[in-house]
Amino acid sequence: MGKTIKLISGDGEMFEVEEAVAFQSNIIKSLADEDNADDCIPLPRVDSQILSKVLEFCRKHANSPSVHTKFAAIPSELCPKHDGSAAGASSSESSSAHSETCRACYDAVMKLVQWDLEFVKVDLDLIHHLLKAANYLDIEDLMFMAVEGAANAIRGNNPEEIRKLFDLENDFTPEEEKEILKEYSWLDDPFEP
């Protein structure tokens, strides 16, 4: 176990996690860099229920290639085939690009993507909280996944279905709603030259 960081949620619960896990948050990373005798970082805007979910995500994503990283840019020490442990990798290797044809890396990233999708399946309340937490804590992968989760719930649905899923009140009159859909109806009409 490497160096740990203590985080305090908005409702006063303490979480102790490895630096590698917590530092996926750019905010936590920069707060920890400042001199802090207790190594205790307060996060007043995140409650314990959400923070524990965020940390579960970060734990899974620590020492894994980011889902955004182009495969060619994955450093070789993160490749499962090369025994993934970051500790002990020589500094000269750490910045070298990994082969973009490495099947092990590709599979690892795909598995991670699948895990992410399962992580937020269906629960838009959770996605909402994770979206705000990812924004507040500046965690890129979590933001990406929460946004993707929300977008998936919108994609292909009509306005009424969207309202049900996202608990939105319809504050349009029927005429207003018709006008909006009419304005973009061209998107539904294919044209033959």
């Binding site: 838009l124 309340d125 909402h128 979206l131 705000k132 924004n135 933001m143 946004v147 993707e148 929300a150 977008a151 919108i154 994609r155 292909g156 649905n157 009509n158 306005p159 969207i162 309202r163 996202f166 608990d167 939105l168 009140e169 319809n170 504050d171 349009f172 709603e177 909006i180 859909l181 304005e183 973009y184 061209w186 998107l187 539904d188 009409d189 294919p190 044209f191 033959e192 030259p193």
Partner: protein, 353 residues
């Protein structure tokens, strides 16, 4: 109660940026907060741009091709008081010219949001000059060459949007460049990372001209395979270098890039079998006639013959692929450009003077 109804606009805009336009449109109709967000914030485009085609002689509509669904849409232009001809894409809009005016008069148009705005008249009125776009925010436009009653106009002028409401002179230019740019008016311009605006004559033998915006000097760069190229177009490459796509009909198609030493390096070749679907083989080519059209930006290049025909698409990471054409191919002459569809009201149309 709905937390999503009050989600901060920036976060909501990010969600919309992951969606194709038709999903954004339906999301807009869900509630007023979502409508306001999508209308006001155009998030950075994540999907491939669409191919927009305007009929060369104007018309009641223009056409937009969605690459994700390989589908064309007709966008009405009935809100325009006069027909327009496409010049170049700028930001999320199109720079166009008034078809009815022989002197160049430029108009900014967004066919998705149905907005348009006239640019001020040129300092020196002229016909058929070269037009170059600097796609920054705010944008600038350069006009060079052209002809008037008194002959060729070897002058360059610049318009910087939002700064002053007029064109400013950038001084004279060599007459031979003015002549070439007027007689073979370029179809596109590329503002490259070296600070130069590049144009290419619209017909063979292709000649590429560069105008250094800082030093205000001109130079000619020979096109690759200059004597053999039968179709060609300039494109911007991802590293902001100048690219040229071209080929000999019935032969190969190549993507080149201009290197620091003014030499052309081949970056990609069109696979022969795919290329033949577009320009036919040597024997057919002479009979078919017609010209291979090329439209591209940093990430995508389209090659096609006619409006509605099969299209060859190249993306650096995905390689080449064919997009099936429509049943009927139209012989309507069109000018095309790549543009990201917008559903939000474009601020560029509210530039205050």
């Amino acid at each position: 109660m709905g937390m999503w109804a009050v989600l901060p606009l920036d976060l909501l805009a990010r969600v919309f940026s992951f969606l194709p336009p038709d999903s954004v449109a339906r999301a807009m109709a869900a509630c007023k907060h979502w409508l306001a967000c999508a209308r006001s914030r155009a998030a950075a485009p994540r999907h491939a741009p669409w191919l927009i085609a305007l009929p060369a002689r104007g018309g009641p509509a223009c056409f937009a091709h969605d690459p994700a669904l390989n589908r064309w849409h007709a966008l009405p232009l009935d809100f325009l008081p006069c027909p327009l001809r496409l010049v170049a894409p700028v930001g999320r809009s199109l720079l166009c010219r008034l078809t009815a005016s022989s002197d160049l008069r430029l108009v900014l148009l967004n066919p998705f949001t149905r907005q348009f705005r006239h640019l001020p008249d040129l300092a020196t009125p002229r016909r058929n000059p070269a037009v170059g776009v600097i796609d920054s925010s705010p944008f600038s436009v350069i006009v060079a060459g052209g002809a008037s009653g008194s002959g060729y106009e070897p002058k360059v002028e610049l318009y910087e949007d939002g700064r002053v409401d007029r064109w400013e002179s950038l001084g004279p230019m060599p007459v031979e460049f003015a002549v070439r740019l007027t007689v073979w008016t370029p179809n596109e311009s590329v503002h490259a990372g070296d600070g130069a605006m590049y144009w290419m004559t619209s017909a063979r033998a292709y000649s590429v001209m560069g105008f250094d915006l800082r030093r205000r000097t001109w130079r000619e760069v020979k096109a690759p395979m200059a004597d053999q190229l039968e179709w060609a177009a300039l494109v911007r490459r991802p590293n902001r270098k100048l690219g040229l796509v071209g080929g000999a009909v019935g032969g190969q198609g190549t993507v080149w890039e201009l290197t620091d030493k003014d030499a052309w390096a081949a970056v990609a070749e069109v696979p022969a079998k795919l290329g033949q679907r577009i320009w036919g083989c040597r024997k057919e080519a002479a009979a078919l006639g017609g010209v291979v059209r090329c439209v591209g930006d940093e990430r995508t290049v389209y090659l096609f013959k006619d409006f509605g025909s099969e299209m060859l698409v190249w993306e650096e990471e995905r390689g080449w692929r064919l997009m099936e054409g429509r049943r009927r191919v139209s012989s309507t002459p069109i000018k095309a450009a790549l543009l990201h569809p917008t559903l939000s009201v474009a601020e560029i149309f509210h530039a205050s003077m």
